[in-house]
Each structure stands twice: as C-alpha cells, then as structure tokens.
Amino acid sequence: MSEHKSIQAIEDELVEEFSLFDSWDDKYEYIIDMGKKLAPLENEHKLDENKVRGCQSTVWLVSEYNDGLIRFKADSDAIITKGLVSMLIRVLSNHTPDEIIDADLGFIQKIGMTTHLAQTRANGLLSMVKQMKNFALAYKIKNSMTHG
C-alpha cells in the first residue's frame, strides 16, 4: 500500500499514469475504471449529512481517524465522479491532518482536469477537495484541544 508514500509522490504517480494516454477517451476510461474499483460505501453511511454539497451527482464522503492518519471512504451515483473521488482518496487517504491540509494537489491541473472538464463544477471536484481538507482541519483542531 501507499502507507509510506508522500502525497506529492502519489500525485506524481498519477500524473505519470495519465501521461500515457493520448486521448481524453482513454483518460475517461481510466477514471471510470477507478470509479468501478472504488470499494463500495456501506449503506449506513449514505446519509444526507455525509453528502458533499456542490455536485450535480450525489457524493457521500466519510472519514476515519486512527493512529494519526485519516482514511476516507466515498461513493457516488455517477461513475466519473466516483472515479474522481477515488483518485482523491488514493492521494489523500492514510495521511496526517497536516499533510492533507498542506497538499497543493497540482496533479488535478497537470492531468488536464481543470481545463478539460466543462463540468468541473457540476461534478464537484473542488467541493470534494474542500470537504476532505475540512475533515483534516477538524481532526487537527480536535487534536490540539485534547493534547494542548
């Protein structure tokens, strides 16, 4: 697993993988494939309170905090969105709150996502990023309250 890889290293890996495709059809195929492979979210988590706002499709996102690391789980009713969130999970999951807060996530732009996806707003990529960073911030604050 990617336990020991830094966020930046995983981002670089993704940029590398996407550089192998010359058409957006292939890139989408890959994103869809990641969506299909994302571990399904248990129904008990598919609650309104776990929905990410700002997506045309429904996205549920939950997090766990163990041994200083955050793990994310997510699902969506739209497969491309699910692929995108799966990518974010691959990059951000299993990292500390500080690492997640500081991640610049330049890979999103490097793989052409921001310029290509007319529907960036609709599929809520940025909302998902924001929600993940909010979780990290919340754990960080909680930590500082219990330890400090």
């Binding site: 957006w24 059809d25 989408y28 195929e29 869809i32 045309q56 499709s57 429904t58 009713d77 739209a78 497969i79 491309i80 969105t81 290509h116 996806l117 007319a118 529907q119 609709a122 599929n123």
Partner: protein, 413 residues
C-alpha cells in the same frame, strides 16, 4: 445510417447553418453538435450584426433627449416593441412590456397583480411540469398572503385535465401554466386550460419560454391574460424578453419597480405613473438587446415557423426512434403533441456521466433536473438527458449523438 437529407420540405438547412457562426466551432477537437437549444438557441449573423450596428451607430438613451441619436435609438426600441406585438399578435403596443426575460415577466405579475389581488385563502393553480420560474414566484406570493398553490398532475407527459377541473373553484384566482414543457417537450392544451379557468373566473398566465420559438402564438386567439417569453430562446440576444398583458389588467396593476422612465410627474407628496407600457419599465432599459429582438423575430418569421416545425419534428421522430433502440433507454415524456425536445434516462447510468462523455465528443446536451424538480420527483429520477433541436440541426448530427451514446455506454457499463 441515412442518406443525406438536409433539405426538408423547402428548408435549406445547410444555408441556414451558414448563418450561425457558432456552429463552426470545434469542441474538444470535433465540430460542435449543439443540442441544447431549449436552454438557449445560437444566434444568426444578422442578430450579431444588428447588435454591433446598434452600438456602432445608434447608441443613446431612449425617450429622453431631443437629439438625433436619442430619437433614432427610441425609434429602434419602439419598432422592436411593435415587432414583438406582431409576433404574438397582441392588439396594441401598450400591452408589450420589455423585461429581462420570462422569469422577470412572471415575477412582475406575481409582485404587482399578485400582491394587489391575492388574499388569504385564494388559490393559484400551476402544473406539475413547471419550470422553477413559474413555481417560486407563486410560492413566495402564497406564503406572503396565506394563499394556496395547487398543481395539475401529469401522467407520462400529459396533463390530467379532469384533475384540473376538480381543482378549479371560485377560490381560484390565477392559473399559471407552461405552454411547452422544457423538460418533456409536451405542448399543453392551453386553449382548454384558459377556457376552463375563465369559466371559473380566474385569470391565466402562459409561460411561453419554450413555445414562442416553435409555435404560432396568437395571444388574442388564446385569450390568455398574460404571456411571457425570452428573446434568447428565439434566436435573439440574452437579457431581454417580453411580458404581454391585457391592457385593462395592466392599467389596473400597480408598478413593479420605481425609478425613472415609469413616472409622469414626481413631487414629494405624490407620483403619477407613466402610461403603458412605460409604467412597468423603470430605469434605462436594455435598449441594445431590445432593439435587436426585432431582427431575431423577423429572421424566424422570414424562414417560416411552419417549415422549421416540420424539420424539427422530423428530427424529433428520427432521434426518438433511434434512442428507443438503445437497450436500457427510457424516453421521459411521451405526449402525442410535442416540440423537438427528447428527454431520456438510461438504466444504471447517471445522466451526468453521459453529459460529460458526449461533451468530450463535441456534443452539447443538457443533463440534470432542467429546473423542474417537482416533475423529476413525479418520475422518481434525479434528472434526465435532454436533446433539443433547432432549425439548424441535422439528422447527421442525431447520428453522431447516437454513436456518442453507444460509445459512452460501452465505457460506462
């Protein structure tokens, strides 16, 4: 899939296409296929030229200066009002109020006529297939006044008129209905709806946002009390629209907004309002876009709505037939009387995924709830994929849509 068939009953589609520069665009490396015409149509060169001409040669404020430019700008503005009057066959130019669009027209009626005439316990009837523009203004009004909003139900895209008859009573003050549904394409029987409403003593507002471009509109024959449409869905500029109202109703209504243009005389004690239509046009209007609306309406009339309808209906039938052959596709809205809008869902596939993958092939469709969430709730779906056709679309483009869908499904399933 078919032989080239772009000349349909006298409509030279290739010649028409050449008049729409946006159709030359490449999107994602492919020629644009624009099937989002129910959202807004592309603009012909004459409309673009007229906008440039207005700002190049005529720009001035209207109804104020006595200088030449002001007079010419005023003349263009008023000529456009007259063109709009003709287009929907209103009996006088005083009945034609320039608005920002359909949404503002409906809000104008809700805020002025509605506030004055709706009381606690009164009822307003809309339909289950309204655009949010024809729901929210009435919800706000009903909440404010303690009035009740009711909906005529529909089944498979057809309004249930028997249910409508049951809803009508002496409490009904207004029936506000969409002429053509943007989400389903249904042409509603507004003639019958209006007759029944009038028998019950209620007024009728017709939301003509989708109908005005496709159907011949005659507000006098319809006998509707209000009719609203948007220029941008009739090949004209954005930011301008028309509200028609019967003169005696408009005269009795309080003004919408206060400001310049809408007054006769202002003293600190009392203001007297300008005559129709200016009473409802406070402030400097959207002169440039209003002036060019005439160009758009004349363009449509010159090509001929009937010819266009024939062409669009052929595209609709062709697309519907091919879509039905794709496994898992369900057409949403199967009314016998439709304009060229086809809405559909596909088993196990989210509309948004289809929208993104079609966009990747340069094909523009609309996905989502189409600002008609109550209707989506009736169908128990989050949204649909909608293709809507205009005069410049072709069967070859429909073929591209079908190929695009098949490829998308291969990737998604």
């Amino acid at each position: 899939m078919i032989e080239s068939n772009t000349i349909t009953k006298g409509l030279d589609v290739q010649a028409i296409r050449q008049q729409f520069p946006a159709l030359n665009r490449q999107v994602k490396g492919q020629p644009l296929v624009y099937f989002d015409n129910a959202a807004t149509t592309q603009k012909p060169q004459v409309v673009i030229d007229a906008l440039v001409d207005y700002y190049t040669n005529y720009n001035a404020n209207v109804h104020r200066g006595i200088h030449t430019l002001a007079e010419e700008a005023t003349a263009l503005f008023e000529a456009s009002r007259n063109a709009a009057r003709q287009f929907i066959n209103a009996s006088s130019r005083e009945e034609i109020i320039f608005t920002r669009g359909t949404t503002e027209g409906i809000n104008l009626v809700a805020y002025t006529w509605g506030r004055k005439n709706i009381k606690a316990g009164d009822e307003i009837i809309i339909t289950e297939m309204e655009h949010h523009s024809n729901i929210v203004p009435w919800q706000i009004l009903c909440e404010e006044k303690g009035a009740v909003l009711k909906m005529i139900p529909q089944r498979d895209g057809v309004l249930l008129l028997d249910e409508y008859k049951k809803l009508l009573s002496s409490k009904t003050k207004l029936v506000s209905v969409v002429h053509v549904s943007n989400a389903l394409g249904t042409v509603n029987p507004v003639e019958d709806i209006i007759t029944l409403a009038h028998q019950a003593g209620a007024l009728v507002l017709v939301d003509g946002a989708q109908s005005t471009v496709h159907l011949d509109i005659d507000v006098q024959a319809l006998d509707c009390d209000f009719f609203a449409f948007s220029s941008h869905k009739v090949y004209g500029p954005t930011g301008i629209g028309v509200l028609y109202g019967k003169k005696h109703l408009l005269e009795a209504m309080p003004p919408f907004q206060g400001g310049g243009e809408m007054i006769k005389e202002v003293t600190l004690e009392k203001t007297t309002y300008a005559d129709l239509p200016y009473k409802f046009e406070a402030g400097t209007p959207n002169i440039g876009d209003a002036a060019v609306l005439k160009t758009a309406l004349e363009f449509v009339t010159k090509i001929g709505k009937e010819k266009v309808r024939h062409h669009e209906n052929e595209l609709l039938a062709y697309a519907t037939g091919l879509l039905k052959q794709i496994p898992g596709v369900t057409i949403i809205g199967n009314a016998p009387n439709k304009v060229s809008v086809v809405s559909f869902v596909i088993d196990k596939v989210h509309p948004q995924d289809i929208g993104i993958l079609l966009d990747n092939r340069g094909i523009a469709v609309r996905t989502g709830h189409h600002c008609a969430q109550p209707l989506m709730v009736c169908y128990g779906i989050p949204g649909t994929i909608r293709a809507s056709f205009a005069m410049y679309n072709t069967k070859e483009e429909v073929d591209k849509l079908i190929v695009g869908l098949e490829k998308a499904l291969k990737m998604l399933l």
